[in-house]
Amino acid sequence: MKIARMVAIVVVSLITLISMGGSLLPGFDYIRQDRKHFSEGPSYEHWLGTDAVGRDRLARLIHGTRVSLLLAPAAAGISVVLAFVVGAAPGFAGGVTERMAKAIIDLALSLPWFFLLLMVRAMLPLNTSPAVSAAITFSVLGLLGWGVPARILLARARRLRQSEFVALARAGGVSHRRLFGVHVLPNLLPVMTAQFWIAVPVFILAEANLSLLGLGVAEPLPSLGGLLRDLESGLSVRSDLCNFAALFVLVVMVSSLQVAFMKHEVS
């Protein structure tokens, strides 16, 4: 286990280092279009080949990983915090608060947020820079993506509220705040952590789909989600292994993060 965790930490550090610093290396320009060598496989000049307009795939992968790695966990964090506020706290409080929270969560799960996203795009100036557009996109994802974890946290918090050890603590005169902070919160952390790790790749993919609405990471800035979207055409048009590079990086990254930071596994 320790070896696995160490390897995972090394992998995560390596990917982070390369994605943060890689774009400083000469030759890793994610914007430049080499129009004489477009849609090509790996070569000496372009180690992972080039995309459909001749941009270096490796440079775009490095830069896209940076964009997604910085923003997707932040969005996942926002959604987890909101899920906690809307789900866990009312679940523990019970009564009317809990019923209202359930109604809000049900609505959050089923309303057509697609249109809200369109409104967000309409309110943004057309000349918003790609970086700001990316930050706004992931923020919106975080603000809208709390429904599922909130429901689970609510159920969990409710069960804890009705559990014997909480009843015992309450009977012993433990304050509500201490009860929640010291006894309930640690029991909610595994669910919150699980949601966080699920949300990161989900938001990376969701960002790519948001480009249909004018949100998402705008050209020429790359993102992991955008590179993954190319997988769809890659399957039918060009079965080139380099198409899967973004997927490989994402899977390795997400798996490594889970192994590195998850404390408890099934024993």
Binding site: L126, T128, P130, L212, G214, S233
Partner: protein
Amino acid sequence: MRRLMLPLCLLLLALATPGMCLDELRFYLHSDPKTFNPGLVADPDSETIRYLTGGVLVRLNRQTQQLEPELATAWKVSKDGKTITFQLRQGVRFSDGTPFGAQDVQFTMTVLMDPMLHSPTGDAFRSGQGKISAAILTPDRISLTFPAPVAGLEKLFDQVAIMSASSPKKEMAVLGPFYVAEYKPGAYVALHRNPNYWKHDDAGRALPYLDAVKLEIQSNRDIEMLKFSRNEIHLINAMDADYFDRLARLAPDKVRDAGPSLDSEMMWFNQASEASVASYKLEWFRSRNFRQAVSLSINRDDLCKVVYGGHAIPARGPVSPANKYWFNSQLPQARFDQEDALRLLQEDGFRLVDGKLVDRGGHPVQFSIITNAGNRSRERMVSMIQADLRAIGMQVNVVTLDFPSLIQRISKAFNYEAAMLGLTNVELDPNEQMNVWLSSSDQHQWNPRQSAPATSWEAEIDRLMLVQASAMDDKTRKRAFDRVQEIVADELPFIYLVNQNALVGVSPALQGVVPVAARPQTYWDIEHIRFSVERANNAN
């Protein structure tokens, strides 16, 4: 018992054998047809149904681009261009057996021209105020009179599918080679051959050769490509260049490049007075030099090579060279010359500061281009244009939007700076684009609904378009429209980028498919398409 064995076995064999094998052509529609009423057809999928089922008085041969007799054996347009008289074919029946005659033509035109119908086909005939009158001269001769001359009048009847005045099946009784036998929403439209179709081939055999056409509904182009490569469908119209090249590598006998299509890609700047654009930017967009500079900075050869894999040509103007008659071959080729572009910009007071272009007021040249999301070719093109314009110091932001949001910005709110779209399903006759060129029109995209032309060149275009609309001889019309094309190439209200080729997929099992530039590119001669016997056995 033994005597019964043989007949029993034969009976069982007959029952076990699947029904008589149909020659069924299969290809995809990309969404549900919105209507089966031929008068209301406005989307490509309904148009497909109309083409395959509708009988027309005259048919534009998509290959020769010449008009041919169909349900009308002869026609004559009066000298003033207001009246057209048709001699109708005799002995023709609708698919349900109802006889065809002049009353059906009268009924069809009455329905089409009903102002409450808002039919795009009907609107194409509207040349002036007033009603159309139809005079039935004999049961097989009818005369239609319009309130004002209609340019290219006879060609418009290629879009008019004749409906029955008396059939209880209404618009489902048809005169075309097929009729709609079954429609499962979201799944498919099944067409069966019209048993009463009037056409025969030279050997006297009844047309069409095919027994049925199955149009499955599938919006995903990747899946369409997969199914075609597995021979589950037989045709693909308007294929993307990416798919074309992949298929060409795997199965070169399945794909055809029919040369430049009638389609084009273009971009334009918002010049509307009600535009929600900074005034200094509006000044840029209204400057001919600025538009010329942008055009000169775009490498169209690269667009054709990279985005379309060489299956496109740089566009010269609003008409594709595939439109043999109306294309102005004297138009100059679009140039790529970024130095010349900078020189033109300098004339307007622009200058480069640290590699960034600024105007005389010191504003950095930055603008956005909006286009519709989900079109891979367009997204790649706009990315390349962004790079080309960066080379002359312009900063371009690319925003892809869903179609309704895009339409809202370009048609209603005018809160955009530049837009990029394409023209598809283009008709050959320029009169059908009248609303694009008239400055007072809603579809005069760069500056619509002008109470008076904002510039002298738009006033000139207005005049020329009205000349070609009212002239009866094609030479006068051609001269006028050639001049429109010259003005457009000079002033660049639209910056035309490429004319993409007609790339199609045709199963080797089919015979009689001749891909052409005009739509429908593959099945325009549906009556003569058939399966070759030995290929059909192998392919299926």
